[in-house]
């Protein structure tokens, strides 16, 4: 049984211009110990999907519905606010893009970490302190016992993100959601954090949902990828299949837009033209159609269904795209 099973998740926001369908019928499974990539651009609904799972979408103006959303046997949508907080404290945790804004600037790192441990793990002060040091060492902060007294501004961006991961891990979560967790960091620091997450999944079997727009990091870290566009998953595949045989016009576009450091130096990138669609009155067709370079006649007639490509690989696209030329 998967750790997390999401079926037909829809999250809408009421705005004065109409209802924004931020997430529009998303379904996926996440196995124990699996690292799932959620890839897409801003506005694709990847962050809102994560917030919906965490039950962190403010309602109203938001409205989260799903056929089911079960985590370890419990239906997340049926939880009361207090129960949801319990689950968040005990078995799910989230790390955000901006570690500075997620930490309270006037409290020391130690105090913030110890407080979480005391509240959720019901540890005493001394035990919580010991555990805090352990956690900071685990995420690779040297001289952890001395760093407990430091304040967030005394840490670099990478260090702060490590602290956020330490806080997230403090409750031994079974699911860790990282929302663009390395986007604001330098590449050498990003490599450190990715390395850390890999080690955690290997050693502790933590499942991870890794939200990113960076296909490179995803290729390095994830077992499986869901590509999102306009609030929907447009393609889902094991990591190697996605890159060897991208089967949705959008995935192809993303790969063409990404400059690479390896291989022959290309003179031109092939970007995706145009802008993402608005999510208020979606087309009854494929949402990517106006920007697609591989559209076929059927695209202009009806919306594509999920097409199975074998090896747990599917895409909602009419175009028959062969394996990608290297």
């Amino acid at each position: 049984m998967p750790l997390l099973a999401v079926r037909n998740l829809r999250t809408r926001f009421a705005t004065d211009r109409g209802t924004v369908r931020a997430v529009d019928g998303v379904s996926f499974d996440l196995a124990e110990g699996e690292v799932l990539g959620l890839v897409g651009e801003s506005g694709s609904g990847k962050s809102v999907t994560a917030l919906s799972i965490m039950r962190l979408v403010p309602e109203p103006p938001g409205r989260v519905t799903a056929d089911s959303m079960s985590f370890d046997g419990t239906d997340l949508l049926r939880l009361t606010e207090a129960q949801a907080r319990e689950v968040r404290g005990a078995s799910m945790a989230m790390v955000f893009q901006d570690p500075m804004r997620s930490l309270n600037p006037v409290l020391s790192i130690g105090r913030q970490l110890v407080e979480v441990l005391q509240r959720h793990q019901k540890l005493g002060r001394q035990a919580a302190r010991r555990r805090a040091i352990e956690l900071l060492e685990m995420v690779g902060i040297p001289l952890a016992d001395k760093r407990l007294a430091a304040y967030p501004h005394q840490f670099s961006g990478g260090m702060r993100q490590r602290v956020m991961i330490a806080i997230a891990l403090s409750c031994n979560p079974r699911l860790l959601i990282a929302d663009e967790a390395t986007t604001a960091l330098d590449v050498t620091i990003q490599a450190q954090i990715v390395d850390l997450v890999k080690r955690l999944t290997r050693e502790r079997g933590t499942s991870v949902i890794w939200i990113s727009h960076d296909l490179g990091v995803v290729a390095n870290l994830c077992d499986r990828v869901n590509v999102m566009y306009a609030g929907r998953i447009v393609e889902s595949a094991p990591i190697r299949d996605l890159f060897q045989r991208p089967s949705h016009g959008y995935t192809l576009g993303l790969l063409g837009s990404t400059p690479r450091i390896d291989g022959p130096a290309l003179r031109r990138l092939s970007p995706i033209d145009g802008l993402p669609p608005n999510l208020i009155d979606p087309l009854p067709l494929c949402p990517f159609l106006p920007r697609c370079r591989v559209s076929v006649a059927a695209c202009r007639e009806r919306a594509p269904d999920r097409r199975d490509l074998g090896h747990e690989h599917w895409a909602t696209c009419f175009a028959e795209l062969g394996p990608r030329a290297p």
Binding site: D16, G274, P276, P277
Partner: protein
């Protein structure tokens, strides 16, 4: 691809025209504007509208309640309150508007200069401003009027001088924040000189707090004029002014409340109109407050 010359270039509106298009859509601001214009017209044409002489004493008719003859009743000297309001508006409105103008002309350039140049200029100007701010404002005004002579023009000047430092300090604070914005650096990189940077970039982005502050200054000026008159510096009796009449009416609050209601109502109406007008101006000058268009991304579908 060669750059094709478009056959006929469509004209387009600049920021001032776009803002002017926005203003009439602000309903409260339009109401404020209309009220203010009516008040000003009433004051300007007071001799034509007023049924009585505002200074003529007629003790036989003192403290009459409102009636058809005396719309707002009479005061303790038997003068028509309505007529005094019309004439008083001439004093009070011109005090308010001119003090606002003085404060603007003195305070805004001072604040902009201080915020833009920073460093020693800033230090010098702000110490000067601080020195002014240490005096109780009314006392300072009294001192100035005492120095210049108890004339209504001098009262306006004095009140303007008192209000300017407050405005200057506020403008400086906002300017300091805006000066650090990337678009100011971008303008410098384009080769813009100090004049253009100050007017097009700094002033334009600190205009909202200025507008709000000026509405406060207006209200304060009308009331301060009353206090000064009360102390014998401003309008000399029997000349009418809203503030003076209001403070005089306090003595008869129990016997003749209408005496109080007339000038108070006029001041309130005036301040409210100015406030609405200020809100409207602020919104019209800030494109982010406009709610008339969908986002471009949404439109380009």
């Amino acid at each position: 691809m060669a750059i094709a010359q478009p056959p006929a270039t469509p004209r387009f509106a600049g920021s001032i025209r776009l803002a002017a298009r926005q203003f009439p859509r602000h309903r409260a601001a339009m109401v404020g504007l209309v009220c203010l214009v009516l008040l000003c017209l009433a004051a300007a044409f007071a001799p034509l509208i007023a049924p009585f002489d505002p200074v003529q004493i007629k003790l036989s008719a003192k403290l009459r309640p409102p009636s058809l003859e005396h719309l707002l009743g009479t005061d303790h000297f038997g003068r028509d309150v309505f007529s005094r309001l019309l004439y008083g508006g001439r004093t009070s409105l011109s005090v308010g508007l001119l003090v606002v103008a003085f404060a603007f002309v003195l305070g805004v350039p001072l604040g902009l200069a201080s915020g833009y140049f920073g460093g020693r200029t800033d230090n010098l100007l702000m110490r000067l401003v601080d020195a002014f701010l240490t005096f109780p404002p009314l006392l300072l005004a009294v001192a100035l009027v005492g120095l210049l002579g108890p004339d209504i023009q001098n009262v306006m000047l004095a009140l303007g001088v008192v209000q300017a430092p407050v405005l200057a300090r506020m403008v400086r604070g906002s300017t300091l924040a805006v000066r650090e914005e990337v678009y100011v650096t971008a303008a410098r990189a384009l080769g813009a000189g100090p004049g253009r940077i100050v007017v097009s970039h700094l002033l334009r982005n600190v205009v909202s707090p200025i507008v709000v502050q000026l509405t406060v200054v207006f209200a304060a000026a009308v009331v301060a004029e009353a206090s000064l008159s009360f102390l014998g510096f401003g309008t000399q009796p029997p000349q009418p002014s809203w503030g003076r009449d209001m403070s005089e009416a306090r003595r008869f609050l129990g016997d003749a409340p209408w005496m109080f209601l007339g000038p108070t109502g006029a001041i309130m109406l005036c301040v409210l109109s100015i406030n609405f007008l200020g809100d409207g101006l602020r919104d019209a000058l800030d494109p982010r407050a406009w709610r008339t268009r969908r986002t471009v991304a949404a439109e380009e579908r």
